[in-house]
């Protein structure tokens, strides 16, 4: 299958990052948001991200222009008519995601792949909203999508072999990332392991065993993580970590997934990490640690 035009629904953090990566790889991206204001904001954030990459010598001005030229903001699914693949990446809300899948299913011919970037929700349940559940699949990217070359390809109960094969081809040949196959299960591999890692770090902190700095240093230096668990949580967004843990706690019913109290408190207090400027550490507007 040829992938030239890709629809991306949702221009939040993940949507921006996915759109940016696809355009960098040479595809035309049709980026959809609920309101023109949100779309505008998403496109602006992509531009800021590209500027940051130019500062790091990763891109040139000409390449930035090319990338931005390939990203087209749209407001309606009728603009997806030419797309070979649609990636949904709105908030982790089952009902809203089902509505999006149902609408995309109606709007696109049956050979178009409908992928969801969900990290915790049931693919099978999402697919049940479509008249063609066999073309619905999970494609879980890791942030920042530009840099992290891994995609969890998630099969729901009714995802067809053909859909899986095309998706794997897309991931490994078109966007040059490693695709790992995962069967439906809350948190798949990455979210399940990393959220437990963060949650356990929070327990160590609660118990007064070590400080935030020392826990981060221990794991960063000791085990070659790029960021320690707390900075990692700040970068994911504490609310997202909290939501993922809550969801896995509900699904698995096991205490180890119960979000730490510190995490709950910080989310309630609006300390969400990089996006709010403060979490376990403080950050400037560019998302660099102060």
């Amino acid at each position: 299958m040829n992938f030239r035009k890709i629809g991306v629904i949702g221009a939040g953090t993940m949507g921006q990052s996915i759109a940016e990566m696809l355009a960098y790889k040479g595809m035309d991206v049709f980026l959809m948001e609920l309101t023109p204001a949100k779309l505008e904001q998403g496109l602006r954030s992509i531009e800021i991200s590209l500027d940051k990459q130019i500062e790091k010598w990763a891109l040139t001005q000409a390449e930035k222009k090319l990338i931005l030229n390939r990203i087209h903001g749209v407001s309606d699914m009728s603009d997806f008519s030419q797309c070979e693949l649609i990636i949904e990446t709105i908030t982790e809300d089952l009902e809203r995601k089902k509505a999006i899948i149902a609408a995309a299913d109606r709007a696109c011919p049956p050979d178009v792949i409908l992928a969801s970037n969900t990290s915790t929700l049931s693919l099978t349940e999402l697919a049940s909203a479509a008249a063609h559940p066999e073309r619905v699949i999970g494609m879980h990217f890791v942030y920042p999508v530009f840099k992290v070359d891994l995609v969890e390809i998630v099969r729901g109960l009714r995802t067809s072999d053909a859909t899986f094969k095309s998706t794997k081809g897309f991931v490994e040949q078109v966007i040059d990332k490693k695709g790992v196959m995962v069967f439906e299960s809350p948190g798949f591999i990455t979210t399940r392991l990393i959220c437990l890692f963060i949650n356990e770090a929070l327990h160590i902190l609660e118990e007064g065993v070590a400080s935030v700095d020392d826990i981060d240093s221990a794991m960063r230096i000791g085990y070659s993580f790029q960021h320690g668990p707390f900075e990692m949580a700040d970068r994911f967004g504490l609310d997202s970590v909290h939501a993922a843990l809550e969801s896995m706690f509900r699904e698995y019913g096991e205490l180890k997934y119960r979000p730490s109290f510190i995490l709950k408190k910080m989310v309630r207090g609006g300390q969400l990490g990089v996006k709010s400027g403060a979490g376990f550490f403080t950050y400037d507007e560019d998302g660099d640690r102060v």
Partner: protein, 405 residues
């Protein structure tokens, strides 16, 4: 037999159509700014006025289609139909050790070229786009690939190996390959012709200085050493490429600036060279102008650039234990009077005497620019890689035709 020669870059594509009966050019042209809404197609049918079109051309397949439309255009065209194109020859930068000479495009050839993407990240993927585009638009036509590295396959081990663990060469073919081989081969042959001396007797240093730049020591007609290495990043300072540097700078900078591999790669390939030092441009013409207008950074960029060219000429004269011919070619080499003068001024100890008047004359012909008593003939030889590509493609297409018949 008509041969279309294509040189596909990432956002541009140059073409030339040859009639191989007499090696005449029927038409040539280029597509620039591919991928933008204002791409420019410039088509020059031989002996007729140039045609220029600005339009949206988003990728290479559309660019090739445009080229074919131009070649068969009722008014500006030179062919009745695309069937009159007998073969297409592509320039390919990196042929690794797999290609010691030009080759016909087959699935195996394409696979080998793909394997070499890591080694020439700016070039091979773009050439591949050109090859795929021709396949899509002209299915069935014979395509040939002519490699920049092939000419340098004659380098001895002492030139092509790096003093690093040998296992790296055996496992990953990490060695020096050299580039611009088609150009160095062509200009050295032309130089010998113009001088009326057999190439097999000459010690020649050829400086191909364009946006990318390399110097080659050509001993008795064969590449003995060349400044570009495993990738086109080594050697001379270039428009946006650093050229030689202490390899320890790479890990040091990555650590200090928190850079990834691809960021540091892009820094050295696209954000260094003339552009980095001048802070102004990667184009030697603009650098020279700014220098004459008193821009200090431009002057520094120019001087560093010339200095590094001079060092290589000296090194290669030593490598061959002598030098009979010093030649300049490609954009900067053919056109920058001031750069040639600057380089030669510091090489009088080799017996080089530049004739400043001859050096200042503009011409499209191969010519000598040194004084009659200069012990080294300094020459400007316009390169013509396209013609060499057309010749190789013609030869391969004829062989193939004979095999099929």
């Amino acid at each position: 037999m008509n041969i279309l020669v294509i040189n596909a870059g990432s956002s541009s594509l140059k073409y030339q159509l040859y009639d191989m009966k007499d090696e005449s050019v029927l038409a040539s042209g280029r597509v620039e700014r591919i991928g933008m809404d204002s791409s420019i197609v410039t088509h020059e049918p031989e002996g007729r006025p140039e045609v220029r079109i600005v339009d949206e051309i988003l990728e290479h397949t559309s660019a090739i289609k445009r080229v074919l439309d131009m070649l068969t255009h009722p008014e500006h065209g030179v062919l009745r139909s695309v069937q009159e194109i007998d073969a297409v020859g592509h320039r390919v930068v990196h042929g690794g050790e797999a290609f010691k000479e030009s080759a016909v495009v087959t699935p195996e050839t394409k696979l080998e070229i793909r394997k070499l993407f890591d080694l020439a990240p700016l070039h091979n993927p773009a050439h591949m786009m050109g090859i795929t585009a021709v396949e899509a638009v002209l299915p069935g036509v014979t395509q040939a690939v002519v490699f920049d590295t092939a000419f340098h396959q004659t380098m001895p081990q002492q030139s092509y190996l790096y003093p690093v663990p040998m296992v790296l060469y055996k496992r990953h073919a990490i060695r020096r390959y050299g580039f611009h081989g088609t150009s160095h081969a062509y200009v050295s042959e032309r130089a010998a012709e113009v001088l009326g001396r057999p190439l097999e007797e000459l010690k020649l240093v050829s400086c191909h200085i364009g946006n990318g730049a390399s110097a080659t020591a050509i001993l008795h007609g064969k590449s003995f050493d060349t400044s570009m290495g495993m990738t086109p990043l080594e050697g001379l300072m270039m428009g946006t490429r650093s050229g030689d540097l202490d390899p320890a700078i790479v890990p040091y900078t990555m650590n200090k600036e928190d850079l990834t591999l691809s960021e540091v790669n892009s820094m050295l390939n696209k954000h260094s060279g003339l552009l980095a030092i001048s802070g102004l441009s990667s184009d030697m013409r603009e650098i020279t102008e700014a220098m004459f207008d008193g821009d200090k950074n431009a002057k520094l960029a120019f001087e560093m650039y010339a200095y590094r060219v001079k060092k290589y000429i000296g090194a290669y004269a030593a490598a061959m234990n002598g030098i009979d011919v010093l030649l300049f070619t490609a954009g900067v080499g053919e056109n920058s009077v001031v750069l040639r003068e600057h380089v030669c001024d510091g090489l009088t100890f080799l017996g080089i005497k530049l004739d400043k008047e001859l050096n200042a004359q503009r011409s499209k012909e191969a010519r000598v620019i040194s004084t009659p008593d200069s012990s080294v003939a300094v020459m400007v030889v316009p390169t013509n890689e396209e013609l060499l590509i057309a010749r190789d493609t013609f030869k391969l297409a004829r062989q193939r035709g004979a095999e099929q018949a």
